[in-house]
C-alpha cells in the first residue's frame, strides 16, 4: 500500500500551491482583486494540507522510495508586470492541475478502501481544487494577450 505516501505528496503539493498563491498575491499587488482572491485560495490550500493530516496518520508507511525528491518543486518566477503575471499564473496552473488530479485519484482510492471520511473530504476539497483551477485559468485568459504581446 502506498496510500500514506500518496497522501503526503498531495499535502506537499497543497503546501507548494499555497506558497505559490501567496507569492502571486505579493508580486502582483497592483491587481488588488487578483491578490485578494489569490490569498483566499492560498488559505484553502493550507486548510487542505491540514485536513489531510488526519488521514496520513490513519495509514501505515509503505516500502516505496522517497518520492518527494522525484516531484520537482514548481516556483513562480517572482517578477512583476503583466508578462511576469502570465508566467506566474502558468506555474500556479501546473500546480493546481497536479493537485486537482491527485484529489480525483484519491477519491477513487478512498472509495475502493470504503474510507467514507476520506471520500467525503475528496468530494468537498476536490471541488474547491476545481474552483481554484477555474480561477487560475480565467486569470490566465485575462492577462495573456496583453502580457505576451504588449507588456514591456
Amino acid at each position: 500500500m502506498h496510500i500514506r505516501a500518496y497522501l503526503e505528496l498531495l499535502q506537499m503539493r497543497e503546501q507548494q500551491l499555497a506558497e505559490a498563491l501567496v507569492a502571486l498575491a505579493e508580486d502582483h499587488a497592483d491587481a488588488p482583486d487578483l491578490a485578494a482572491t489569490s490569498r483566499r485560495l492560498a488559505r484553502w490550500s493550507g486548510q487542505h494540507a491540514q485536513a489531510l493530516q488526519v488521514f496520513v496518520g490513519r495509514y501505515p508507511p509503505g516500502e516505496e522510495p522517497d518520492l518527494a525528491a522525484a516531484v520537482p518543486p514548481l516556483a513562480p518566477a517572482r517578477f512583476s508586470g503583466n508578462y511576469g503575471l502570465v508566467h506566474d499564473l502558468q506555474i500556479v496552473w501546473l500546480l493546481v492541475q497536479d493537485v486537482q488530479a491527485r484529489w480525483e485519484v484519491l477519491r477513487q482510492v478512498s472509495w475502493a478502501l470504503r474510507d467514507r471520511e476520506l471520500f467525503a473530504a475528496c468530494e468537498e476539497l476536490g471541488a474547491e481544487a476545481r474552483r481554484q483551477a477555474a480561477w487560475v485559468r480565467a486569470r490566465l485568459a485575462e492577462a495573456a494577450v496583453q502580457g505576451i504581446i504588449a507588456a514591456p
Binding site: 482572491t37 480565467a138 485575462e142 504581446i149 504588449a150
Partner: protein, 832 residues
Amino acid sequence: MFGTQITESYESRDSIAHIWGYRTPYAGQGQWPVRVDERALADADHWVQSACVFCSNGCGLDIGVRDGRMVAVRGRARDWGNRGRLGPKGLHGWEANMSPDRLTRPLVRRGASLREATWEEAMSLLVGRMQEVCSTASSLAVAFYVGGQLFLEDYYTLAVIALAGVGTPHLDASVRLSTAAGAAALMESFGSEGQPGCYDDIDVTDALLHVGHNVAEQHTVLWARILDRRHGPKPPRLVVIDPRTTPAAREADVHLAPRPGTNVAVLNGLLHLVIRAGRVDHAFIDAHTVGFARLKGVVEGWPPERVEAVSGVPVGALRAAAEVLGATPSLVSTVLLGVYQSPQATAAAVQVNNLHLIRGLIGRPGCGVLQMSGQPAGANAHETGCAGALPGFRNWANPVHVNQLAQLWKVDPLRIAAWGPPTPVVDMLRYIEEGSLRMLWVIGSNPAVSLPDLTRVRAVLDQPGLLLVVQDAFMTETARYADIVLPAALWGEKTGTFTSADRTVHISYTAVSPPGEARPDLDILLEFAQRMNFRNRDGEPLIGWRDPEGAFEAWKACSAGRPCDYSGLSYARLSGGPGIRWPCNEQFPDGRPRLYTDGVFYTAASDCESYGHDLLTAAPVTAAEYCLADPRGRALLKAADYTPPPEQPDSEYPLWLTTGRVVYHWLTRTKTARSRELSAAAPDAFVQVSDEDAARYRIADGQWLEVRSRRGRAVARARVGQIEPGLVFMPFHYGNGDPKHGPRAANELTLNDWDPVSKEPWLKCAAVRIRRAQEPAGIRRLLWLAGLRRALGGGHILHSLALQIARLFAKGGGRAHPGVPGAAADAGAAAR
C-alpha cells in the same frame, strides 16, 4: 402651463425648497395624475422634444428655444416615466449649456500648455498618433473610456470602431463605476441584462424594497411616484436597506441600517427567514429555476442573531422586514450603488433577484426587480457593447455570437477583439502604469475625480509616454492632463436616443447649435473612422452611416433577435409620443412592459449573454460546463456566503467611510455646479458624522474636519446626525479644483479594490480617521477679504478685486501640475 405667455423668469414650482413637489395621490396602472413642471428664463418661440439627462429615470421633457438659445424646459405630460414632472436637476441643470466656459475650439498640447488648434490639426494629430501607436505597438496599446451620458448612436459607433476598426478589447464605460454589478447580477440570475420589470409595476405593487438605493435623491421623480402611491389608496409597504437615514429611510415602514460591506449577510438573513417561514412559491421554483437546494443550504447558516452580530441590524428589524417581504403578494425591488459599490457587489445584487425568484414575484404586474442604472444612457453603454459584453448583449465566449457580429459588419471574425473578456478601466490603469497602454481616449467622463484612489489616478494620467485624448464640453480635471482636447456638443445640441432604467427609449432632438466649433460626439467619431479608413471585407467603409438616424438603423439590425431588440423602433415612432420600451419588434410592436411573463429566462446556452461566474472567485463558468447543465430558460438561483471586506476599521483608522450623493448635484458637478440655484443649494462637500461620534470627537455642526485614510486626506465641514455611529459619509460630487479648498474629493480616500465579478470599485467603504481641522487657507483669506470689504463699505468692484486677490493667494503662485488640488477650475464629467 401650456400656452402661457411668460414675460419673465418663471418656475411652476420651487424645486430647490420642495424637491418632490406637491402630492398627487393615486393607485392603479395608468392612474398617475399629470403634473407639468416647468422652468423658463424667457418666452420660448418653439419647443423641441427631448428627455432629461440627470438620472436614468428618463423623464420626457421639451426644450424651449428662443432666438437660437435654450430658455426653458417643460415636462412632457404624455410620458409615462414622469407624467410632466421634473426634478430640481432637470429644471435647473440645462443652464450649464450656456456656461461661458464651454470648450469651443480643439486644444493641442505644446510643451506644458494646451493651445487652441483647428479641427484639421487636432484630427490629423489624433489619427496620425493612433496609426503610429497601432503600427509600432499594436492595437493593444489603445484604449477608449466613455461616460454614461452619450447617446445610443454614439456608443454603437464607438463599439464598432473599437472592436472591429481599431481592434482592441480595451473599451469600457464609466458605468463600470456605477452599475456594472447590477448588469452582472442580471446576467448571473437571468442569463442576460434587461430589467425584468418596469415603472408601471410601482403603480400597482403592494410593497417596495430599496436596497442601497438613495431613490429620493437620485431618482427624484421616481420617488415622487412612490410618495404619491404612499399617499393614495392601498399604499404599498416600504422596506429600505441603507446605512444612512436617507429621506427614503425616513419614509420607510422598516429601515435596516447595516454596516458597510455586510449586504450579503443581511440579504441572506432575509432569505433565511422567508424560506424558514415557508413563504416560497415551490411551483415556480420547480418549474422555472435551478439551484434552490444550495441557496437554501447557504442561507440556513444566516439566522437573525448571526446577521445582527455581523451587520448590526437588530433581530427585530430583520424579522419585521422579512415579514413584509414574505407576506406581500407583489413586490418591486430597486438596487443601486449602496450594493454595487460595496464588497461582494454582484453576490449581494443576485440575492435580491433570488428573493423575487423564490417567491415567484416576477414577470407579472406589480412584481419587478429594477437593478437600476444611474446614468441617463448607462443602459445604452451596456446594450451596445461599450461596457463589458459584446453589442446586443452578445456573449464574447460564444463563437456563434461573435460570428453574428462578423456577418453584420462584414468582417473576418478574427478581426473582432473578442478573444477574451473586454478590459475594465481598473485594468487599463495598470496597463498604462506598466507602459503597455500608450493611448487613452476619454469621452464625456472625468476619471480624475470619479475613480478611486485619486493620488494614483493622477499619477497614471500624468504618466510620461501616455497620449491622452479627452473629448468633453468643459475643461475638466481630466482634460487638464490631455494632449488633445476635442470640444463636444452637449445634450440639446445634438440628436440621438437614450434608454431609461426601465428599458424606455426616448429621442432627444437638436434644439440649439453647439457653441463655437464644438461638435456632436457622433460627428467626431464618424470623422475619425473615415480618416482611419476602416473598411469591411468588401472594401466598403466599416461604418456605413453618416448621421444619428443612420446609426440608429444600424443598431436596429445589430439588436434584432437579441433581448434588447430595437428593430420595431424608428425615429418617426419615437417622435411626438412618449418613450417606447424595448424589446420592440414584430411580436411586441408597442414594446414589452415586463420580461419573463412566461417564466422563461434568457439562460439557454445559445441565448445567454454570459455563462456566469463563481460568485466568490469570479472564475467564469466555461462554455463546456454551462452546456453540460444547460438551464434552458430556467433562472439561476446563485448562493453566496458572506465574506468580510479586506479593509475594516481598526485602532489606527477606527471609522467606516461611505460615499454617496446629494439631491442637487449630478456626478462630478460639471453641469450642476454651473447652475446658480443648484450650486447655492449645495455649495460644498461635507462630512456627515453621528451624534455619538460628534460628542466623542467634540465636533460641532459646521466644524472643519480632516478625514484621512491609508490613501489620502480630505477636508470638509461636519454635518452632525442622521447616520449610524462609527460611520462617516461624504458626497462624491466635489472635486479638488476649487482653489479656495484643500482636497475635498471623497475619492482621495477610497480603496483601489473592486468586486471581482463585475470589476466595479468599492467606493462605499473604507477605513478612515477624523480630526478637527482648521478651515482651508483659501477660505480664510476669502473671509478676511470679505470682512475688509464690509469694513470699507466697498461695492461690487472691490468685492471682485478681493475675490481675484483671494484666488491668487489660494493658487499659491501657479500650478506645477494640472489637476493638483489648488489649481484647476472645478469641473467634472460632462452630462451630455
